[in-house]
């Protein structure tokens, strides 16, 4: 089956659902005016800040960030998430609780802002010849090492010969050096979706190259994301 990058998550498939009472209260408050609106906006901002603080704490370990920087990211993320929510509120169709829909924007803003901070604290490379170390990743049982080394050599050749310079750069950064996608996007002046598309195409090319060289995958990936 040809591998395609396609949008199967068409929002139009998920029509408006019956709104729960609490979500309706949020919508009424945010769409209203005067003091009720002011209070609702203030309540939402306080809630978004609470969520943002929780989220930056959850992710802090991966970026070696601490107190003031985390609070700064949380404040900025909640501010920008509030702006996004107010501008996009007409797009909320009630297919989840309002808060879950709103928190999604906090996650996006936290990811983006942590991506900006990545380069201040880490010196992972987007360009180094990381695939020179690839065979070391295949440390297996002694009787498998030679076989695995051959496969990683084939992968290394494919990275070098079959990928475009941009695909090489993105694959090395994201897949090998584990640079966050948002940090790569910032470095390239792009966005996460476009960077992922480059990564997706690079992976597809590399799989095809390995298949052509006689290697096949052991199992199909499962959809488990937890």
């Amino acid at each position: 089956m040809p591998i395609e990058y396609r949008d199967v998550a068409d929002p139009a498939r998920f029509g408006a659902a019956a709104m729960d009472t609490t979500s309706q209260l949020w919508l009424d408050g945010l769409r209203g005016s005067g003091r009720d609106n002011d209070e609702c906006v203030a309540a939402l901002h306080a809630l978004l800040l609470r969520v943002a603080r929780h989220e930056v704490s959850r992710r802090a370990g991966s970026l070696q960030l601490h107190g003031p920087e985390l609070e700064d990211i949380a404040q900025q993320a909640s501010d920008d998430a509030l702006m996004a929510i107010r501008s996009k509120i007409a797009g909320f169709r009630g297919d989840s609780r309002f808060t879950t829909w709103a928190y999604k924007f906090v996650m996006f803003e936290v990811s983006t802002k942590m991506g900006r901070h990545f380069w201040r604290h880490r010196h992972a490379s987007m360009d180094a010849d990381s695939w020179e170390r690839l065979p070391d990743r295949g440390a297996a049982a002694p009787d498998q090492r030679t076989e695995h080394r051959e496969i990683f050599e084939a992968l290394r050749r494919a990275i070098d010969q079959d990928l475009t310079p941009l695909q090489q750069r993105v694959f090395v950064a994201v897949a090998l050096n584990e640079v966050p996608m948002d940090a790569v996007a910032r470095e390239l002046g792009s966005n996460r979706n476009s960077v992922y598309k480059v990564l997706f195409d690079a992976r597809r090319k590399l799989r095809a190259s390995l298949r052509s060289a006689g290697y096949e995958r052991p199992t199909q990936s499962s959809g488990s994301a937890a």
Binding site: R6, H45, A140, R207, R217, S221, G223
Partner: protein
């Protein structure tokens, strides 16, 4: 010759992948389906496949799942 699982992890082979933007559009409903006890991969397989392949979106998904579970019932009372 079979490839080792390290390469399997480097080169996940999802035949259906919704991508970052389309997954973000429906991530809230995906999370709520999971929290309600049903498997969102049944109705949104492209999102499930994407989350398994994209580390950035997987982090957003995990964060949103946590936030919805912890703070999902908040009401718009004056702060």
């Amino acid at each position: 010759m079979k490839t080792p699982r390290d390469i399997d992890a480097l080169l996940p082979d999802n035949t259906v992948d919704a991508g970052c933007a389309a997954s973000f559009d429906v991530l809230h409903s995906f999370v709520e389906q999971e929290l309600s006890g049903s498997d969102p991969a049944d109705s949104q397989p492209g999102v499930a496949a994407h989350i398994s392949s994209c580390r950035a979106c997987r982090e957003d998904y995990r964060g949103l799942r946590d936030a919805a579970a912890l703070f999902g019932d908040a009401e718009p009372l004056p702060s």
